[in-house]
Symmetry: D2
Subunit: 271 residues, 4 copies
């Protein structure tokens, strides 16, 4: 009803409608959309209700449409989904009044012979290469624009955007990269070579990878989507040719979110 | 023939015999053994031919028998399997002349309600708790002698002996622990909590772990043996009541092996 | 007055008396002590008022006397000085009623030709070797019981007790070592060799160090006491032959202090 | 003589001339220069003979002149001074034939009230803030374009260019940054806050720092030049408005140098 008063037309994904059925009242005039195409034609803004994982999942719907997305955080960790439950109403108001900024976030694009991820071959956080459960360490030969970088003896390798630098890459020892750095980071997962370090490269380079391993298969992930791949498959990664528009309310800043989420400055010694 | 001249009676595992069949001549008087019991009765020394993984596998045969083991390294990495291919003959001579020392290495023992690993519930390197492929991060609640240590938000957790401190734990940021330190290290794998660190505790403590996760199953490994476990299973880890006797030739030392394997001191700046 | 009622005789260091003069009323019957010898004869317990640094400084008075010490934390960080200001009265009560445990903490002892620290050549936290301001990196050749360990190209090296493992060593990437681990850790400071790692050794070994550097002098510290040393001076470090008795109130545990001070478990994601 | 035959006019710094006097024959027609101004008018290329430190020192002469510099490595580490002693002749030939590329490397510029470094307030590798010898940890409040980043409780802080990312920052846990990344990294030195991580920001931002400490002075360095500073001094750092032209012979690449210097790929397990 709030929404109606402001002349706002709700748009709902068909699967979501089913799962909500009987739980909350869905306004009668709600438009139901089924896929990327329908979303593009009907929605101005996408609200992601869940955690960071949910917001990442909405990218399969948003793709290159440019539709801005804002995340309401119902999960535990909310780097991307930065609006907390208690702030929903004020956030919607700010949204309606245009009191926000669009943060253009770059994505990575995965390419491979057999088109592993179809049309969803992009990632806002990271693309990872990983050994399978129970299998031994793998060797990943990495190149940049055809020039050899290094052979990583490791459980896997993370190629992360600045947005993804505070996700899995950070857990594996990668640095924090400010969003508009136009860079990607290559972070090894549990490397056997003790002298390797995360490497930052400008995001206009093309990275390519070949895997050597005893086991015949390995895993590739775009954000939370994972496929099992034959050892012989070569993959390459470059910047996607579209961005995602994250809505950032004007009372939020990246550094602020960073400090709050990483508990920077909350130090018992300050008390 | 060399062996015969020294009055040495070869003893061979039955599976190994089959795989060797037709490749090399197996001396006629070779005794074939099938399991832990037969090995205990017939062998004085076990030769592990392969890499560190192979030597770890021989523990299923050796168990608490006290039979000393020496590793001939045919693999790439040889921390445990320290005799290189070119040194086999001199190593055998040293062995025959008793020119060696027994390194007693402690093991870990895993306990759980449903006896996950049967009689092979021990590890020379490490016991690990790990999320499955594709599943989200898990939360591992760790206690020592019933007292709460920490809740790890991570891909998993490694509990390593000093012997295992130079294996997987080292790849995940753990320290190197000298073999006779009577300690174990708890090292998180890709932790989300950025302020956790590896923890060293005396090896006479009992560690216990409970898992909290979205996914209903997780993985537990004793060295290279892995099982899939229900989320509700609690496990505890303590020092095993037997040791493994690693044969160390008298021209080798732990620090020497460490430097060679980790490339310590091989620094281009020294040239 | 509280103290008098319990038949407690205050004992005060002469320098401290002077600095307190005119600020608080010092009870008339207070005994003033001037040095280690007088302390030993008059005091049963030493109260350290300040932070961890203050408590470390009291060791110059306590030495091998066995007099238990308890730290009232007026500073910011209180790992050793674990009683906070608000808890003083209840802590004193617990002390009077004997409701506490003595934690025996091991110390390190430094030896060198010219007896660098006189009779105060011991450390509860750590002994460090460090380049001077403005000077280039140094090379520290480390041995254990005469056997070569490694040559560290670094700003310096920390040799820490379990007690010191949560202090400077932790800031430089060392692990946390449980107090009764009977181990020490060797942690490099800003190492140029990227493949070195902290090393844990049993505390009954003797470590020795030689320095190679362009600059003719370097620094050696026992806890917070630092001296400037000629490059040619060799030093060796072993376990001291006495312990310090830290008073731990019975409602405190090491793991509890660890979690509170390192902010373990205080995770925004738990809210 | 070689040089003469190619019509090359040697140019020599006056101090260097003195120290060479009597050791090697200096060609009669050698021009001697005394400072930045004279160098700019007479030289086309500057040869730095020494290690990386020597090359960094030549920047005080080169400044914004654009004169290309090449480093002949007589020291141990040669990231910048990449020509080894055995390759001098072939390197000179390549130089004469123009068989090289100019790598434009960005610099940092330090600003402060009292103009700490005069006209040499720039750094090719890094600017560092550091506590003095013997003094306690400091607190460094860092901001970007006036917005608060974090308060670092640490021994110090490194602000490094991509060029400097393989120097001191790397020793303190920073990532490797590819030269044309247009970024800088902020890396803490021995931080007490365990949850801080290196941060990468685009190099068009302005960083500013204030220090809080018990001690009244601290140290600031531009590359190898260090000054002692009053605690109250605020400093700010931004990208310099000129670059340094490093000469890279066409048979060299950055990735190649990286692998060789960091020993990447030289793994005993490959043998």
């Amino acid at each position: 009803d709030h929404l109606k008063n402001h002349g706002i037309q709700p748009v709902l994904h068909h699967k979501f409608k089913n799962s909500l059925h009987g739980k909350i009242k869905i306004p009668a005039h709600t438009i139901i959309f089924h896929n990327h195409e329908e979303l593009k034609q009907t929605a101005d803004v996408l609200l992601s209700l869940g955690g960071d994982g949910t917001l990442l999942d909405t990218l399969s719907l948003i793709r290159n449409s440019g539709i801005p997305v804002i995340g309401i955080n119902f999960g535990r960790l909310g780097f991307l989904a930065s609006i907390n439950k208690g702030e929903i109403e004020s956030a919607l108001k700010a949204l309606i009044h245009g009191d926000y900024t669009l943060d253009e976030r770059s994505l990575l694009r995965l390419e491979s012979d057999n088109n592993l991820f179809g049309e969803e071959n992009f990632a806002l956080n990271d693309i990872t290469i990983h050994r399978r459960d129970n299998s031994a360490m793998m060797i990943i030969h990495a190149s940049m624009n055809g020039e050899f970088i290094n052979s990583y003896w490791a459980d896997g390798l993370i190629i992360a955007t600045p947005t993804g630098s505070t996700a899995y890459s950070l857990s594996c020892g990668g640095p924090i990269i400010y969003p508009d750095s136009e860079s990607v980071v290559i972070t090894p997962i549990a490397p056997h070579n003790l002298n390797v370090r995360p490497v930052i490269i400008p995001d206009d380079n093309i990275l390519s990878f070949e895997v050597e391993a005893r086991e015949s298969k390995f895993l590739v992930s775009c954000d939370s989507r994972t496929v099992t791949v034959e050892r012989s498959v070569k993959i390459s990664i470059k910047k996607a040719d579209f961005c995602v528009n994250l809505i950032r309310l004007n009372n939020e800043t990246y550094l602020n979110t960073l400090r709050n989420k990483l508990l920077w400055g909350i130090d018992t010694r300050n008390y």
